[in-house]
């Protein structure tokens, strides 16, 4: 594939969020007509990079040049005007509108002030044909299209904007194998016409098929850029993506007593289309980790164990007692507590004071005949605040105003107050800054030492490997490897995961 002049240059791009640096010096050059792949682990800064290019986030520092002219991308509209179109992973099409209306959403063709439906339909037909999808009718409601069809519409929209750079965020995630082939064909046609593409994916074999050059991000920084797809080895890429950092400090832990009782026993759990044949055991004081990519089914496995989802087969036993499938109250009363992935939307009452979040699952013990005593509640909250070193130590403070790390501690406090046998942690340090991470690791280790059985999922492999005694690697809804955490490293896990994806 012939690639031309540099279209986009980013130098030293920095984006700060409260308490975290999402981008910390990103360099990127994209040439016209190339497919430039951006690789990186979860949290490496890929999403933030996309949003900076789309004009949704304003960088705090750095320079962006387009056609060698310095530019600032002040808004999504400005991005489109500069020729940058973005295809988000969760496709941003409007289901209730037709294909043509979606393609021209926000820049409708008009004649004498009235929208010119005929021209839009005709132009849509041309664009769809150009993309090899003449069979999609411009008059069809988008809600009736498959994910692949919606992606074509999204792409046609980018072309209708005369985009010179299309940013694609994991475009293959929603597609089956045949649709992926078709996507690649479209990508090749578009680039042949001189459009540049930034292709974000963590499926290496796809990148080998469709990509030209690769940039690798880690912790918000560019660690390598302009690598040739044909000559860079997989091993080299994985090393670049994972390379150790100092941010994971795990407290030393005693090994689990050989005679420790089994607390959680999961047998042959299955949910069709999501995961199957999942079995695992956790003893008192043991930390078990599930490693796998986003979408591998690991979060769903946790949810099924906690009663949030109802598995179609298999059973979950806590201390030998079988839990009622799909019943959170039953799991909670057996002592299973879930700290969910989305702390804010799934875990906390953000506008309520801290103490009410701590006591939410402990009414049975704290209330007397259905009546709550706020003094007792605050005392309970103070107990957790002291034990967890929550800051600021104010039980009446509105939960929203605590930092990410302290919000995570509030959730831990809720389950500690309830008295947990099994603690299930989904992404325990997401959105938590580096300092608070170490504290949370320490707390998890202390809880295990006190005899709690702990199940952890994390997208960050060093975290899940460093915390756990035992690791189960999940790929495509199946456990593909189980064993002691000290016998496996990141490379091996990534190999397993990517083999699973390819299979």
């Amino acid at each position: 594939m012939v690639t031309g002049d540099t279209f986009l240059t980013m130098r030293g791009t920095v984006k700060n969020f409260p308490g975290a640096k999402a981008l910390d010096g990103v360099d990127l050059d994209v040439r016209t007509g190339e497919v430039h792949c951006v690789l990186g682990q979860n949290g490496a800064g890929k999403s933030t990079l996309i949003k900076v290019l789309a004009g949704a986030h304003q960088p705090n520092d750095g320079e962006i040049h387009i056609d060698d002219q310095p530019v600032t991308i002040t808004s999504p509209v400005a991005a489109l005007r500069l020729g940058i179109a973005t295809m988000y992973q969760e496709l941003d099409v409007v289901d209730g509108l037709t294909v043509a209306e979606n393609i021209f959403l926000g820049h409708e063709l008009s004649r004498a002030g009235l929208s010119n439906a005929g021209a839009m339909i005709a132009r849509s037909r041309e664009l769809l044909a150009q993309l090899g999808h003449a069979e999609i009718s411009p008059r069809l409601e988008v809600g009736r299209l498959s994910a692949a069809g919606k992606q074509v519409v999204s792409m046609a929209r980018a072309l209708s904007r005369k985009a010179r750079l299309i940013v694609m965020d994991e475009p293959s995630a929603v597609l089956d194998a045949e649709e992926v082939e078709n996507l690649f064909r479209v990508v090749r046609e578009v680039t042949a016409a001189g459009v540049a593409i930034i292709y974000i994916s963590h499926r290496l074999e796809e990148i080998r098929q469709v990509g030209d050059r690769i940039t690798v991000l880690k912790n918000g920084r560019t660690v390598a850029t302009g690598l040739d797809v044909a000559t860079t080895s997989t091993r080299e890429l994985i090393t670049l993506m994972t390379g150790r950092t100092e941010e994971y400090v795990f407290p030393p832990r005693p090994s689990v007593a050989a005679d420790a009782a089994e607390v959680l026993n999961v047998e042959d759990l299955a949910l069709p289309g999501t995961f199957e044949g999942v079995s695992l055991q956790i003893r008192a004081g043991e930390i078990v980790g599930l490693a796998g990519l986003v979408g591998s089914g690991r979060s769903e496995i946790l949810e099924a164990i906690c009663g949030v989802r109802r598995p179609s087969a298999g059973r979950v036993l806590v201390d030998g007692r079988r839990l009622r499938p799909g019943s959170v109250p039953d799991a909670v009363s057996a002592g299973v507590g879930l700290c969910p992935e989305e702390r804010k939307s799934q875990g906390l009452l953000l506008d309520e004071p801290l103490y009410r979040n701590i006591t939410l699952s402990s009414f049975a013990r704290i209330a007397r005949g259905g009546f709550l005593d706020e003094h007792r509640e605050r005392r309970a909250a103070m107990r957790q605040i002291t034990g967890l070193e929550l800051r600021p130590a104010d039980p009446n403070r509105v939960t929203r105003t605590f930092s990410g790390g302290n919000q995570q501690k509030i959730l831990l406090g809720r389950w500690l107050e309830h008295g947990c046998r099994v603690l299930v942690l989904d992404e325990p340090t997401r959105g938590v800054d580096v300092g608070a991470r170490a504290e949370i690791y320490k707390l998890i280790a202390e809880l295990a030492a006190a005899g709690t059985a702990i199940l952890v999922v994390s997208s960050e492999l060093p975290e899940v490997l460093g915390l756990s005694d035992t690791i189960h690697v999940v790929a495509d809804g199946r456990v593909v490897h189980s064993g002691p955490a000290r016998d496996i490293d990141e490379h091996r896990v990534l190999d397993l995961v990517m083999e699973g994806e390819a299979a």
């Binding site: 949030v308 939307s345 953000l350 939410l360 009414f363 209330a367 709550l372 104010d394 009446n396 929203r400």
Partner: protein, 343 residues
């Protein structure tokens, strides 16, 4: 601000007893203070425009009596809205309950029915309607707006069929005696309202039921993952609201001496307006019974002033509308101040 010194704000749910307690919900007290000032302001308007006719003790009792029926409905509505729902059927259910209870008293068991049976029947009819709506919403996954809209239409229709579109005069001696009494100088209707409001306050602010209501309305997913039975709780909220509407139906019979299918027309709007003006968030998660009581009193006083000045109902509606908009705009300001910065 001197007015506020004379009349301290009522004990809001956020009021503090322990000295070290900071105001954890900004705006809670400010808002109740605002309601006191608004009510006092309205009283001033009443004083200037209608003078002694307004300031007369009997007139205040008239206002309270007028407020009591809507008040009981609004307390129930406060729970549903705090729990993240809405109940459009309260007015129709009130009418149906009044018809059902008066039918029972005049036809089925004519003559020898105990007055408590009348009240109980009205409450049971209301609670049953709430049960149906609640099950549709929580287990049938019908949107609350639609489910209660259907109940609103259907209950009105059923009331018309049962009563044959006629007013049914209730003649149960004990019933009249009870509601005509004036313990401590206040009509029974007003006492019922005060007791329901006080019970509602305790239920919302001091019990696990109230806390669960706030949790379900504030973040249903978080409540579910914390082990709260969200669907069962939702049903309970609608049953409670229906029960209040039914009780209000019995109170309506007492006020008008008849059961009628036209009772409670547009009460759903009056109740929602009172709840919203009182400071309960329409999106759920925060509710205030004290605010609702003030909301009801503000609208009742407003009606009274308009009546005393021989102004039309239509003019009154315009002012009501303006007050609702003003209250919601203020509420949005408080909401944005508490800062929703989630991505």
């Amino acid at each position: 601000m001197s007015a506020s010194a004379e009349a301290p704000p009522p004990p809001s749910q956020e009021t503090v007893r322990t000295g070290g307690r900071r105001i954890s919900l900004p705006g809670g007290m400010v808002r109740n203070l605002g309601l006191v000032i608004a009510l006092l302001g309205l009283c001033l308007v009443g004083w200037f425009t209608a003078d002694t006719r307004f300031l007369d003790g009997d007139n205040f009792i008239t206002i309270l009596r007028f407020a009591s029926v809507t008040g009981v409905v609004s307390v129930g509505m406060t729970f549903v809205i705090t729990g993240g729902g809405i109940d459009l059927s309260v007015g129709s259910v009130l009418g149906l309950a009044s018809v059902w209870a008066s039918t029972l008293a005049t036809q089925a068991m004519a003559g020898d029915v105990h007055w408590l049976v009348v009240v109980f029947t009205a409450c049971a009819v209301g609670a049953a309607c709430g049960l149906v709506s609640g099950i549709l919403i929580a287990y049938g996954k019908v949107v609350a707006f639609i489910a209660t809209l259907a109940m609103m239409v259907a209950a009105r229709g059923l009331a018309e069929i049962i009563s044959n579109n006629r007013n049914q005069i209730l003649d149960v001696p004990g019933f009249d005696n009870f509601f005509d009494a004036r313990p401590l100088g206040l009509p029974t209707l007003v006492w019922v309202f005060l007791i329901v409001a006080a019970a509602g306050w305790v239920l919302l602010n001091r019990t696990t039921f109230g806390r669960r209501t706030i949790a379900v309305g504030g973040n249903a997913e978080a409540a579910r993952l914390a082990g709260i039975r969200v669907r069962a709780h939702t049903v309970a909220l609608y049953v409670l609201c229906g029960f209040c509407s039914g009780l209000a139906g019995a109170m309506m019979i007492a006020r008008t001496t008849v059961g009628s299918s036209t009772h409670g027309g547009l009460y759903e709007l009056d109740a929602i307006a009172a709840v919203v003006v009182g400071g309960t968030l329409l999106i759920g998660g925060r509710g205030t019974i004290v605010g609702t009581v003030f909301g009801v009193l503000i609208f009742a006083t407003l009606s009274n002033i308009f009546t005393l000045n021989n102004l039309s109902i239509s003019a009154q509606s315009i002012v009501k509308g303006a007050i609702i908009v003003l209250a919601v705009l203020l509420q949005q300001r408080f909401a944005s101040r508490s800062g929703s910065s989630s991505p």
